[in-house]
Subunit: 152 residues, 2 copies
């Protein structure tokens, strides 16, 4: 099997990333996948590309996108002006799960946070995904906070 490479996403990856986001029990009702990404996804991709504190990344095996995540680097005053790395929209292709790709992708993402000088990595995970929480705990994350959302 070809090795997995982690890299910044390009616009050519967009349809594959949206397909990954949609291939999920919670995501299937939220996303519109297709060969041509919807204009709203293209606009969001452009906004992420313009912002040097956003990094949309993919796991690429032999030219195929098999995983993705978004990193946000957030400056703040708390804890002596500590930067935070925030991880969002994590997905691994269903046929690639259990191969260690998720673990390797997280190790890469945490290294990126360290390289950007972050003192903390944070994420929220839906309580309906207990297996995701167990995965993050195995990586050393602690469920010390409530993750609260308000739809507008």
């Amino acid at each position: 099997m070809a090795p997995v490479v982690f890299r910044a996403a390009t616009e050519a990856d967009l349809a594959a990333i949206v397909a990954l986001l949609a291939d999920d029990p919670l995501g299937s009702s939220r996303e519109v996948a297709g060969a041509e990404p919807d204009a709203r996804y293209r606009d969001a991709f452009a906004a992420m590309t313009r912002d040097p504190n956003q990094l949309l990344a993919v796991a690429d095996r032999d030219g195929r996108v098999i995983g993705c995540l978004q990193l946000s680097f957030i400056p703040g005053l708390s804890r002596h002006g500590m930067w935070r790395g925030q991880i969002e929209s994590v997905r691994v292709a269903s046929n690639e799960r259990g191969t260690g790709v998720g673990c390797a992708m997280f190790a890469w993402a945490i290294d990126m946070c360290r390289a950007r000088g972050c003192g903390l990595v944070q994420l929220t995970t839906d309580k309906r995904r207990p297996e995701a929480r167990a995965f993050y705990e195995a990586l050393g994350f602690t469920a010390s906070h409530e993750g609260m959302k308000l739809g507008l």
Copy 2:
């Protein structure tokens, strides 16, 4: 009593904001308050000011900083390229609690998120602050997620 005004923070507010962050059971061991803000806080303030997706805001009563919060506007692909508003480092001066300032500050912050086109407002709250969770629930937030942190 003079009315409360919500506005973007300026560098002149920095010492007062750090004092608010430190005046808290969890924050007191994390922050270094003083008349002259530490260089790390000044650097963090500069990073926030440079980033158009960060807004450090204060509640100002008659020229005194009596509350603060940080808003981060985060672009993303999930949910049709929805923007999120994220709220962090919320504090209200101890002698101003129970006056409705927190509620008014959140109403203002949520309006700012709406004005920026966000579809969701999110925050995490330490599980050791059950009264904070109750405050956010009263504002309509749902504790649907685990908030997970990893120190680097």
